[in-house]
Amino acid sequence: MNLERLPNEEKLILCRKYYLGGFAFLPFLWLVNVVWFFREAFVKPAYTEQLQIKAYVKWSAVGLLFWVAVLTTWITIFQHFRAQWGEVGDSLSFTIPLGTP
């Protein structure tokens, strides 16, 4: 879909949908929202809906950063301590490479 061809109100509705959708543990929607609407929110000359779009994009970005931080921390901890955790580590794993502790 080409955003250029969409009327401004439609853009706002779309941006809100992605923003709200992200709360369903879907941080990738927020990522898409940030990338897709960044130009609309911060580069384009001002229009009525831009203020709201700007807010949605900003909060999407915050949410995304939060997810990135949480996931990075967890993955680091998990990879580092999986072998030490033993049984807990194994049951948290989806697939265990053969021959690794």
Partner: protein, 677 residues
């Protein structure tokens, strides 16, 4: 990297090595032992270790690490975890090391025997006698590189030639590329310990459900002189049995090699011959003799601990109250002095019935060419299945061994525990067939041992000393049960026992000229000694009955018979060749031979960190193989890679250039292309 560069950097000389025996990973409650390669196989420049000094080349001075070390002699006694070693190939020596070699520990089954802090603490951990002083414990070490054993064959010749032509440093010069290299694959799936690998094998929701290890296990074989109802488990009223025990497994450092001549086969043959000698003499005895062949004793007494467990839990046709006494036959290859030693437990020794058993054995050996003696009374029992019975009850028992204190066997649980170690010397001008007929001194000695064991059992089971002399083991029987030099135990050649497959037809027994592999293996597969002992024991103690093939296979004597299957085991076997014919007679053998599980109770109870029961498991693997090839220098490899990358970049650039100028390059006069996309 070798994979996609092999068109010009690598020349393959040998793709699959034959007759190799790897060292594989085994795990127990706390450790992993054995060897493994990385997932993609380990590569190293071949280095033939001809002498001890040569080792410096591998460990420090050689310019092309890592090295794949080829050991030709018995230097394999020390090791180091060193990043300069990619792997080791041991070429099986043709002669045994004179000083002895045992990769087992110096105190076999240290923590699973009877002696512990609660039972004779002063005897625990081989405090009084170190049973296997030559044991260096290599079999119980962990190696992070592959170690293979190879038979001296065409393949080893290829390796030697390859080394001589490419790798040997002449007059101190460094060898030039291309060099001879070798790659070994033996990646193991299991890791850490038994609890971990069993848990991973049992993960319920896994993307890649896969077993990574299997418990070691098989079956114990037992037979009684009086038929016992095998269906009714638990205590048998009025039954009193003398257990004649022996172990039927062994191991070595390498998977697939477990000759166990002295450590296992001597006792096994002696008890089989004794069982045969007693065949017609047990009718009037008031006690029953129970011949038991325990499997997996090498790995913390798997078989005996399971039988004791089954007896305690009424899963066996007898229970411990039925056991009168135990006579165990250990390593019984006789030395020049023909002495055997009767080992007993100093803790329960106060029991007077032990003395009765000992005096019966002395009486049994009177008139034979062997002398039975007792070691110092303060010496504990050697590693033996009997210890597992003592753990739960002080049953009187004796273990017959050929050593007074430490093992006389210099090659305990090693690849050298073979026919040569027993000094089975055949005159070189005998043919294979004549060798089978020839009774060696070792076979004569073993016949004496078997006779003594048989007579001892006869007396212990209540036989009168006057009737004892008719009990005589047959040297003609021990002879085919004998072992041929370099070919192990070719019992089968004489007995011509054929395996009966599930469809009722007969198939041949394992190939005849290989030494028996006494390794227990994983519990899903039947091991060699299991089938061998089962069939031979049935033939030696059973009787031929006139029963049709169909009834025989259905375990009945006639159509209406549904009682005998509880008492007897029927086996349809093929006999020897008829004279002047290729046909064989088939018949039905009725015996009391039975099987009972030899899987450690730890796996029944799912206690994978058990301190009371064996927890040994064997890792699974995907491929075990090796290959030899010529490898180019690192510089050439890098150059090839560099050229490849350069070609890729140039082609990308060219493509970009061509597509951006496409309208100019591909424009035709007739039809202008639309370049707006």
């Amino acid at each position: 990297m070798e994979h996609f560069l092999n068109f010009n950097v690598i020349t393959f000389l040998l793709q699959n090595l034959n007759e190799t025996f790897p060292c594989v990973r085994l795990l127990n409650a706390t450790h992993q032992i054995g060897c493994q390669s990385s997932f993609g196989g380990d590569v190293g420049v071949v280095h033939l270790l001809e002498s001890e000094e040569n080792l410096d080349w591998v460990l420090s001075s050689g310019p092309n690490p890592p090295y794949m070390v080829i050991l030709e002699s018995t230097l394999f006694t020390r090791y180091s975890q060193c990043s300069r070693v990619a792997g080791v190939v041991v070429v099986e020596p043709t002669t045994n090391p004179p000083d002895g070699f045992s990769p087992h520990t110096s105190c076999p089954n240290e923590n699973m025997g009877v002696y512990s802090e609660s039972y004779g603490p002063s005897y625990a951990h081989c405090n009084v006698t170190v049973w296997n002083p030559l044991g260096n414990g290599l079999s119980y070490e962990e190696f992070d590189f592959p170690i293979f054993s190879m038979k001296d064959s065409n393949d080893t010749e290829v390796i030697r030639r390859c080394y001589r032509e490419h790798n040997r440093a002449v007059n101190g010069s460094t060898p030039q590329y291309p060099l001879c290299a070798m790659q070994l694959f033996s990646h193991m799936s299991a890791v850490t310990d038994t609890a971990t690998c069993m848990r991973r094998s049992e993960i319920p929701f896994s993307l890649t459900p896969e077993f990574v290890c299997d418990p070691l296990g098989d079956e114990n074989i037992w037979a009684s002189t009086k038929p016992l109802n095998n269906t009714a488990k638990g205590h048998k009223e009025g039954e009193s049995v003398v257990i004649a025990a022996v172990k039927m497994d062994s191991r070595s450092f390498f998977f697939g090699l477990a000759p166990g001549a002295d450590s296992t086969a001597t006792g096994l043959v002696a008890l089989l011959a004794a069982a045969n000698a007693l065949r017609n003499a047990t009718a009037e005895l008031n006690r029953t003799i129970l011949y038991t062949f325990f499997h997996g004793e090498t790995f913390d007494y798997i078989g005996s601990s399971r039988m004791v467990y089954d007896m305690e839990n009424n899963q066996f046709p007898l229970d411990l109250d039925n056991v009168h006494s135990i006579l165990e036959v250990g390593q019984v290859a006789l030395g020049s002095n023909s002495r055997l030693w009767l080992h007993s437990d100093p803790v329960s020794r106060r029991n007077r019935s032990v003395n009765k058993l000992v005096s019966n054995l002395h009486l049994a050996a009177a008139g034979l060419n062997i002398s039975l003696e007792e070691p110092n009374v303060t010496q504990p029992l050697p590693p033996s299945s009997f210890q597992r019975f003592l753990r739960v009850r002080s049953i009187p028992g004796v273990v017959i061994e050929n050593h007074q204190a430490s093992f006389t066997n210099k090659y305990y649980q090693s690849i050298f525990d073979n026919a040569e170690s027993l000094q089975l010397n055949y005159s070189p001008n005998l043919t294979a067939e004549e060798q089978l007929e020839f009774v060696t001194d070792a076979a004569k000695n073993l016949t004496e041992v078997a006779t003594a064991v048989a007579r001892g059992l006869y007396l212990q089971a209540g036989g009168h000393p006057a009737g004892m002399n008719t009990v005589q083991a047959d040297s003609k029987l021990v002879r085919p049960l004998d072992w041929k030099r370099n070919s192990g135990y070719t019992w089968i050649k004489r007995l011509k026992i054929k395996k009966q497959s599930s469809d009722g037809d007969v198939s041949t027994f394992s190939s005849e000229d290989k030494p028996t592999k006494f390794y227990i293996g994983v519990d899903q597969e039947m091991s060699e000694p299991n089938f061998m002992v089962q069939t031979i024991l049935a033939n030696l103690t059973g009787t031929i009955v006139n029963v049709t093939k169909e009834n025989c296979q259905k375990q009945k004597e006639d159509e209406e018979d549904n009682r005998n299957k509880h008492l007897y085991y029927y086996q349809w076997v093929q006999g020897p060749l008829r004279p002047n014919s290729t046909e064989r007679d088939s018949f039905c053998v009725r015996s009391t031979v039975r099987k009972s599980p030899a899987k450690s109770p730890a796996f029944v109870l799912r206690e994978y960190t058990s301190k009371d029961y064996s927890t040994w498991t064997e890792s699974r693997w995907k491929t075990i193989t090796g290959r030899i090839f010529l490898v180019a220098s690192h510089d050439l490899e890098m150059l090839t890679l560099g050229v490849g990358v350069a070609v890729l970049l140039v082609s990308l650039l060219l493509t970009y250039f061509v597509s951006s100028k496409a309208d100019i390059l591909f424009s035709s006069g007739r039809e202008p292309t639309n370049a707006t996309y």
